[in-house]
């Protein structure tokens, strides 16, 4: 009896000690991303290998639908539970301005390229900003139904705006961003000068005038899944969409669609670390791993978004399930036909142009 008791005490003490030891080591990080195929690609390329290499770290993957409402609410409540958030660059800048995100010293906090060049040189030019760690380059481009037109197929942005030669409905995102740029390009403005023209009241008017020419033939989408659906149903002959979604419509679902790379708008998606979180050091360790050259290249095996590092580009291989060579599906391959969105300009002008765009829609 006495012996049993002693054993129990010993094993209890041992269990308690073990629990303490484990809780000292185990870290749980809440990593928030967009969900769906995109999060799946991150899990395979970053989360799973990292957790295998670091048994003490558990990465909880949470989904959100974008925007900074939750981050701001957590910050104002003084209870930041999200350790790492996947954001578009426009939101990263907005959140950085408001002090919602931690400032990043890219060279000190991120991995260097295999050849030793520092992170600030290795990430694609113009993609870094104060609180933002780039991850992928995605693009918004037009796709068209290959069975819609006999003879000449549309190739340029001017063709998209040409209702006589290519009649039929189009679907565009219900937002001024990208649409104004495209209208100017279709109107003959060079992609490199788009933002200079947009910076003048006459330029904005010119863009709206050009959009007026196709307004009656446009269905405006707000949810990202809609354009691919409208194209698949034959509701529209042209549609804008994120290249990753268009890729899966074409290659996985075998829809009769083709992408017009001309005038594609490149945009950046990446990580931002909410300030005030409890696990700063652990998060930085994970981010350093998840944005190194090999990991970014790995992600392209699962989704057709381009890695944000120059050194990752040559390492992009084949799609893990479809076996397609992913190189030709990277938007970065056609970078010279498109342009990088000017997120600083949009941060300054988005509110006013959004109101103007909505008012224009109602006219």
């Amino acid at each position: 009896m006495k012996k049993t008791l002693r054993y129990t005490t010993v094993s209890l003490a041992g269990a308690v000690a073990l629990t303490f030891a484990a809780s000292a080591q185990a870290v749980e990080l809440n990593v928030v991303s967009w969900g769906g195929a995109y999060t799946a690609s991150q899990l395979k390329a970053y989360h799973q290998p990292y957790m295998e290499a670091n048994p003490g770290v558990t990465l909880n993957s949470l989904d959100y639908s974008g925007g900074l409402a939750e981050v701001r609410a957590q910050s104002e409540a003084g209870n930041v539970t999200w350790d790492l958030v996947d954001v578009v660059v426009a939101d990263a800048i907005r959140g950085c301005d408001e002090g919602l995100f931690m400032e990043i010293d890219h060279d000190a906090m991120l991995a260097a390229a295999p050849d030793g060049s520092p992170a600030s040189k290795d990430f694609l030019e113009g993609t870094l900003s104060d609180c933002f760690i780039p991850q992928i380059i995605y693009s918004t481009a037009f796709a068209y139904r290959t069975d819609a037109f006999k003879g000449d197929q549309p190739k340029t942005m001017a063709d998209v705006f040409n209702l006589e030669k290519f009649p039929g409905k189009r679907t565009l995102q219900r937002a001024p961003i990208n649409n104004l740029e495209w209208a100017l390009i279709a109107d003959g403005v060079d992609a490199s000068e788009v933002y200079d023209v947009l910076d003048t009241p006459e330029g904005v008017q010119r863009a709206f005038d050009k959009l007026d020419t196709i307004k009656d033939e446009v269905i405006w989408w707000t949810e990202g899944a809609v354009p691919a659906q409208l194209l698949a149903d034959g509701e529209v002959v042209f549609g804008t969409g994120y290249n990753g979604r268009l890729f899966s419509a074409i290659e996985e679902e075998k829809q009769p669609l083709a992408i017009i790379w001309d005038g594609q708008v490149l945009d950046i998606d990446g990580w931002a670390i909410p300030s005030g979180g409890q696990n700063k050091d652990e998060v930085l360790k994970f981010v350093k791993y998840a944005t190194d050259t090999q990991r970014l290249a790995d992600q392209a095996k699962y989704i057709s978004y381009g890695p944000a590092r120059n050194s990752s580009l040559p390492l992009v291989g084949k799609h893990a399930e479809l076996g397609i060579d992913m190189g030709p599906h990277m938007p970065t391959k056609y970078a010279d036909q498109g342009f990088l969105t000017d997120f600083q300009w949009w941060a300054d002008n988005r509110d006013e142009l959004n109101e103007r765009f909505e008012a224009w829609l109602q006219q």
């Binding site: 925007g67 002090g99 008012a359």
Partner: protein, 421 residues
């Protein structure tokens, strides 16, 4: 002395000698406490999850504390400025000092965002100048700031700063009704190309009224049928009415897209019958029609159920009595039956109307340009633009209008006559 004795003997007492009043109050207090304890969880829940957040959110619609907090020196320096010419060097020096401090504390971005709501481009002006002025060690700051960004040499920029220096602002409310301050601080209309909110409010109201009317038209016969059919048929019908309730909102909305789109089921059928030609398919979704059809369908059960519960209680003998007194079918129905169902119509209408006025996801999916409502703009400002002040102002206006309508309804119909079941 004699009076006192008289008074004492007047008071009724319980067996142990305490006055009856006290004893009853004690017993009642225990009951009251019990009752309070029972409702306490719900009360606290509503207080913390509903009332406090709503009051907090409403407060944001007038809150402007960020400017006086982050730019205290500038606000003080501008207090005596008359606004006629560019302010003196002290104001520039104060702004430079505030910017340096704001950059240190990472608060300057909030100022930049706040000013950008009032004047597009101010975000870039403030952020850029703050970055450049951090390197300037000594004055004169006037030249340094104007050199950092020429906007600081513009009188309008300083007039804006002076206007927003108070801790409270009406700016969000003005914005929410398509007005704004001009550079002199007078209220004027937004330029035509930026006016959206008033039209959206009006559209939200008339579409909600229309949808309420349609649910009455469609729901009344169904409810009547439900109330008069034999039980085994009415049960089946009731399941058909309730079935949509058990289906996800998104599925129902998407189903309407499949039905109504121009390559959709309805248009295909019309073309096949020959009513319309193949190249003249009408646009039935991504516009007002889509929103009205989908929302009428989704909100129909909220009309049918209160109507049904009221009709169920009307004895069929009333109609027979009216008929036997000489009224024809129509007169009996209009003069005897409908008045008795008014409480159900009232309850259903108020339910459907209030739900419709705040509807968000269905209009976003099927509304296109002409079928989206004010709630879509509120969601945009909550989630995308992060302009919570404007979202709060729009929300308060919507809430205020609903409360006003509720009081009008109460005055006209009487809320006590409403029957939900």
């Amino acid at each position: 002395m004699a009076e006192a004795t008289l008074e004492q003997s007047d008071v009724m007492r319980t067996a142990d000698g305490t006055p009856l009043k006290v004893s009853i109050a004690r017993a009642m207090r225990r009951n009251k406490l019990m009752a309070l304890a029972l409702i306490a969880p719900l009360f606290l829940f509503i207080l913390f999850s509903f009332l406090i957040p709503i009051v907090d959110m409403s407060f944001r619609s007038i809150d402007n504390s960020v400017i006086p907090e982050v730019l205290p020196r500038t606000v003080a320096a501008l207090e005596d400025w008359d606004g006629q010419d560019l302010p003196p060097e002290e104001a520039f020096a104060a702004l430079a000092a505030d910017m340096k401090a704001g950059r240190e504390s990472r608060e300057i971005g909030k100022v930049a965002t706040r000013l950008n709501y009032e004047m597009s481009g101010m975000r870039g002006t403030v952020m850029g100048s703050a970055r450049r002025i951090a390197k300037v060690e000594e004055g004169p700051y006037k030249e340094a700031l104007i050199d950092a960004n020429k906007d600081w040499g513009d009188l309008a920029t300083w007039q804006l700063l002076k206007r927003v220096s108070s801790p409270y602002t009406l700016g969000y409310y003005l914005n929410a009704v398509d007005l704004r301050y001009d550079t002199q601080g007078n209220i004027e209309a937004q330029p035509d190309f930026r006016q959206i909110y008033v039209d959206l409010f009006l559209r939200t109201f008339w579409m909600s009224i229309l949808i309420t009317g349609l649910t009455i038209l469609l729901g009344y016969p169904i409810a009547h049928l439900l109330a008069t059919l034999p039980l085994r048929y009415s049960n089946l019908l009731m399941i058909l009415v309730l079935l949509p309730f058990w289906t996800s909102l998104l599925v129902r909305t998407t189903a309407w897209i499949v039905m109504l789109q121009s390559e959709g089921v309805l248009n295909d059928m019309l073309v096949w019958i020959g009513v319309i030609s193949d190249d003249a398919r009408p646009q039935l979704v991504y516009n007002k029609i889509g929103t009205i059809v989908a929302m009428t369908h989704i909100l129909l059960p909220f009309m049918v159920l209160p109507l049904y519960s009221v009709m169920k209680t009307i004895p069929p003998s009333y109609m027979r009595a009216a008929r036997s007194l000489g009224a024809n079918q129509v007169t009996a129905f209009v003069k005897v039956y409908i008045p008795q169902t008014l409480s159900g119509i009232g309850a259903g209408s108020i339910l459907v109307f209030i739900l419709a006025i705040g509807y968000y996801i269905t209009p976003a999916l099927v509304g296109g340009t002409t079928g989206t409502l004010i709630s879509n703009q509120i969601a945009y400002h909550m989630q995308q633009s992060l302009n919570w002040g404007l979202a709060a102002a729009l929300g308060v206006i919507l809430l205020g209008t609903v409360i006003a309508l509720y009081f009008i309804y109460n005055r006209l119909v009487g809320i006590d006559k409403m029957k939900l079941g």
